[in-house]
Symmetry: none
Subunit: 126 residues, 4 copies
DNA sequence: GTGGTCTAGACCACT
DNA sequence: GTGGTCTAGACCACT
C-alpha cells in the first residue's frame, strides 16, 4: 500500500495524510474520479484514529481535491489547476531541499527556517 | 526600543525573542560583551511573563550566544562563528522568502512548505 | 514504583528526574521504545508539578534519550551509543565515589570537589 | 598580583576566593602569620563587591585558616593539619581531572559528574 | 488524554 | 538587583 504516516514526525498526522494524498494525485498515482478508501478502511490500514482520517478528508474537500457522495464514498475531483502546477510544485520542493542542505552546513537550525517561512508568509499575505 | 514580539503570531513568544536577539546580534546592533536587559526589565518592556524571557535566555545560552554571570546579569558572547556566517544566513533567508512568494502564486499552502522543510531536514540528518 | 525524588537534595528536581530516567534506561530497567508515564501521571506519582516533569522530559529529548509523539506520549529512543558506554559510565561513577570518600578523610569539602570538577571541565573544553 | 576571579564561572565568587586563598596557602605562596589584604583593598584589586570578600574571609575564619585582630587586620593561622594534607589534596585533584577527561570522551555531561559528587557525598555523610 | 506554551507569583543564592 | 527553580493553573493543538 502507498499510504504511510510517521507518528514520530512533528507534522500532525492528518496533515501528513493530506500532503500524501495530494502528492499521489499530482504524481498521477491517484486519478481524477477514483474512489478513495473509506475512513474506517484507511484508518485501519495506517493504524490511525478514524477522527484523524476524517479531519484530513474534510480539509481535502475544502481544498477542492475530493468530494463525497452520501452513502457512496469519497472521490477525487478533476482538479486541472492543481495538475497543471505540478512541475512548479516539484521545482519549489527541490529548491527548498537545497536550502535546507545549505542551512545545515552553516549551522542554521530547523526552527529558524520554519520561523523564516512563517514570517515571510505573513509579509506576503499583507 | 527594538525588542518587540507579536502575540498573534503562531511562533511561540520565547522563540520570537530568540530569533530577534540573534538577528540583532548578527546585524551588529547588539555587540559581543554587551549586557542584555535583565529578565524582569525585558519582560516589563515587551509585556511578557518573566518566565518566557528566561526560557529564551536559557536557550540562547545553550546555543552559545549569551552567558550569564550569577547575580550580575546576562551578556552576549563573542561568537565569531555566528558572525562570520551572517552573509550566508542573509542569503538563505532571502531565497526562502522568494520561494514563499512563488509558492503563494501557485497555491501552495504555508503548511505544505513547513512540512517540506520538516521532511527535508529529516532526510539531511540521516 | 521506581521513580523517586528527594526534595531536600540541592540538585534541582528536574535534574534528579533526568538522572534517574537515564540511569533506569542504562540499567535496562526501562527499554528502548517503551512509553514513559505521561507528564500528568508521573507528576502525580512523585508529587511534583507537571511543569517540572515537562522540563525534565524536554531536556531528555534534547539529549536524544526520549522522543515525543504529539497527542500520544513520550517514548524512549533506541540510543545504542548511550547503552554501549554504560560500563565505562559505571566505572567512572565508582571511581568518583572513591575520591569523595578519600576527600572526606582529609577534610576536603564537597564544595571544593565541585569546584575542581568545574575548573577541570573548563580546561578540558578549551 | 596572584588573586584572580572569573565572573563567568558558575562557582560563586566568594567560593572562588576561598579556594584560591587556600590553594596559595597550601602551596606555600602565602605563609602562616602573614597578613592578608584588607577587605576594601582586595575588593578593589579584584573588582568585586566588598561584601563578597567579607563573606570569603568569614568562611575562611570558620575553617580555621585565618583569624582577625580587631583594628589590625586579618592573618593566616599556622594550620599544620592543612599543610600536611597538601600532597593528598594534590593527588585527589589530579585524579579528579583525569576522571573529567575520561567522562568527556564517553559523553558524560558536567552536570552528571556534579550530581554524582553530590549523591556520593550524601551517602558518605550518613 | 497527550505534550507545549504561557501567566502569576513565590522563594532562593549570589552580588 | 540578578538569574534559577518551582508551583498552580489556564489554554491550545493533536489524537
Amino acid at each position: 500500500m502507498f499510504y504511510r504516516i510517521d507518528t514520530k514526525s512533528p507534522t500532525p498526522l492528518y496533515e501528513q495524510l493530506i500532503f500524501q494524498i495530494k502528492e499521489l494525485y499530482i504524481q498521477g498515482i491517484l486519478e481524477p474520479g477514483e474512489k478513495l478508501p473509506s475512513i474506517r478502511e484507511l484508518s485501519s490500514v495506517i493504524l490511525v484514529n478514524p477522527n484523524t482520517v476524517s479531519k484530513a478528508y474534510q480539509e481535502l474537500e475544502r481544498q477542492g481535491i475530493i468530494y463525497t457522495e452520501r452513502g457512496r464514498g469519497t472521490f477525487l475531483t478533476d482538479n486541472t489547476a492543481l495538475l497543471e502546477k505540478a512541475p512548479e510544485r516539484m521545482e519549489i520542493k527541490n529548491q527548498l531541499r537545497e536550502l535546507v542542505l545549505r542551512s545545515r552546513r552553516c549551522g542554521i537550525a530547523k526552527s529558524e527556517l520554519l520561523h523564516w517561512v512563517e514570517t515571510a508568509s505573513e509579509e506576503v499575505q499583507s
